[in-house]
Point group: C2
């Protein structure tokens, strides 16, 4: 195991009706004037925003609204939010929504106390301070409610890039599984795929002897495999929604990924798809991740055989372990198909002819990207090519 620091100081407030307590937690963590940040009108229509504002009013907390965050959140709204916060002396951002809203809130939070362009933090600069953030989560997917990460798309060139820092970990996150029951099946499945990808990106590692985090990753995958089909079949299954929501947080606050090299190339390769086609991130991952697995499998067949047997219930083929490894990938793709995810370019609405452009915007030029297997531009192209015709 490699040396590491793990620091997840977010207070998680989990369960039915907990959004009615958000004012109390804003108060607890020192907020006096809040930017209430959200996405589409659905938060308004559902009554959620009313409950949130009632809770803020109950604590005599002032707030200003900034809605309109779109999936794959853009930099233009971030700039607007930063300006608004400075003008109104906002000291706390409350994000009500999914990963896109929370990521946008994090970008604004970093931008307010910073004199330069907030995009610097999405170009490699480490943030040192940020406004305090709280969240009321409405989709189990991104894990942004418990992470120190944010992904924003720059409209100029449609560049999708990430930033990280402990200062953007939320002070509190309210997780009420009831709020996810109204999600359409497709979005539910996209969220589940994103969660599984967060686990796999940690699972495939060159670090040896990391049994505890291997087993914890497998535990979360087994949970997702059991619970996801149940919520697709019955959207109001609270118990299954609750298991998925907690799994989504644990999968990405990094308690199961510490001390091991990770591989985030599937996320990166997918980001080009959602940036170009504005598809759901989870849907893009369903197309890319099994294709990436097929391409890199021979780097460590036994690790793929391990997940096939421990997670996918395959019988180990001791004379031909690569058959077991392949069977595991096949079952992953079958699972994704069964929950309604696209598994190839056609189903996603992507075009083979765009591959050169996708590889170009991936942006490694003549270089390579690290992780479990180092990849060059032609490897990225080959992974997209596998994804073109992938089938079960």
């Amino acid at each position: 195991m490699e040396n590491f620091n793990f620091y997840s100081p977010t207070e998680f407030v989990f369960g039915k009706d907990r959004e009615n307590e958000c004012g109390k937690y804003v108060h607890k963590f020192g907020g006096t004037k809040v930017l209430l940040h959200y996405g589409s009108s659905s938060a308004k229509k559902s009554g959620l925003l009313d409950r949130v504002t009632q809770s803020l009013k109950k604590e005599n907390i002032e707030f200003i609204e900034l809605g309109g965050v779109q999936p794959n959140p853009h930099d233009s709204l971030v700039y607007k939010g930063i300006e608004l916060c400075k003008k109104e002396n906002i000291d706390f951002i409350l994000a009500v929504g999914g990963g896109s809203v929370i990521d946008s809130a994090k970008a604004i939070a970093m931008g307010v106390p910073y004199e330069g362009d907030f995009w610097d933090f999405y170009s490699g600069k480490k943030p040192k301070e940020a406004l305090s953030i709280g969240t009321v989560l409405t989709i189990a997917a991104a894990g942004s409610e418990g992470s120190g990460d944010s992904v924003i798309t720059k409209e100029e060139g449609m560049l999708k890039r990430g930033a990280s820092g402990d200062c953007i970990r939320p002070k509190f996150s309210i997780l009420n599984p009831q709020l996810t029951c109204t999600l359409p099946a497709y979005q539910t499945a996209c969220g589940a795929t994103d969660i599984m990808a967060h686990i796999f990106e940690r699972y495939f590692t060159n670090t040896q002897e990391v049994e505890v985090t291997d087993r914890l990753c497998e535990a979360l995958l087994l949970t997702m495999i059991k619970e996801t089909p149940r919520v697709i079949a019955d959207p109001n299954n609270y118990a299954a929604r609750a298991n998925i929501m907690w799994a989504g947080m644990v999968a990405h606050n990094n308690i199961v990924g510490v001390g091991r090299e990770q591989d985030w190339n599937s996320h990166g390769i997918e980001h080009e798809l959602s940036a170009l086609y504005d598809c759901a991130h989870g849907a893009g991952l369903a197309v890319i991740m099994p294709s990436w697995m097929e391409y890199v499998m021979h780097h460590d067949v036994m690790r793929f055989a391990q997940v096939a047997t421990r997670v996918w219930g395959c019988q180990m083929n001791f004379s031909q372990p690569e058959e077991t490894a392949k069977e595991g990938i096949k079952r992953f793709r079958q699972f994704l198909h069964s929950i309604g995810m696209p598994i190839n370019f056609k189903e996603l609405g992507a075009k083979e002819s765009d591959i050169p452009q996708l590889v170009k915007t991936f942006g490694i030029g003549e270089g390579e990207t690290g992780g479990f297997v180092h990849l060059k531009a032609n490897d990225i192209a080959n992974i997209y090519k596998i994804a073109v015709d992938a089938s079960i």
Copy 2:
């Protein structure tokens, strides 16, 4: 899943040589004058205390030493520590040792800002504030490095009682697996048993549909079953030590126990043994926990069959699930025996004739204690009786 809050704001600093950074972390979390709290002379002899004090000096942090914490830490040293902290205007307690030292530090930390007797917190009162605490952990066992719990023994009557509160969660905990390599095999095994007990006390629940925490508990148990025999066979196996150390923290900061009813009766029943005989807590648990399992198994045979198949690798007996359940408990006891733990009263040095006294000091009188199965005084006596002659 039940509603819950989860708040674990400790910064975990994990890996080789990390104790040399303790001064930096005391500084980061606002400490200026430190009570350096430790146990026996082994921390001195090994050079660990020298490294810690060097690190404090490097940051110009004043400190005063208070050693002498014994296993099953006593209230008398806590009173001494509180007095010393008040007299010397201490603002930070650095605990260097295992669970006993950390628990003693937590008791002192609560006692300093409190006008009454610190024992109030061990008699049901909730603490509101405490001095800041940091830890340098030397034994993977109690999980106190990441928990808001503390257990202290009151010398008058040898009462062993617990206190809980978020304010006594350490600000930082340094976990260097190298420091555990010099532990004798017996203490290593006691620690492993304590970790497994922390998982089982969460696992046996009446809360339905808690797949994610079930699976996470199983992941930690599987890790302990793999790694413990390796460190007993080779004390210097760093990788195995590291896996156990992280598992020990995750097992007890409650991330795997949230949203479910838990059962801490085995811990309570054991505490009477270690209070009376001053035996190691882990050794007492090895005697008590499988006996408790045998006694309560029929309350939920399928839950015991689940752990038997998922964790102990038993084949499910579908026509007689109780046979599978029993086989799981048997394998647990065999495992404990294989790592050198006592499994009955004789091996522990306990006496059957003391059972009435043990039951009396357990202190429920005519009442009962809650959890997975509610127990009355005669149930406690019956569990001790099973433990008298237990065998593999």
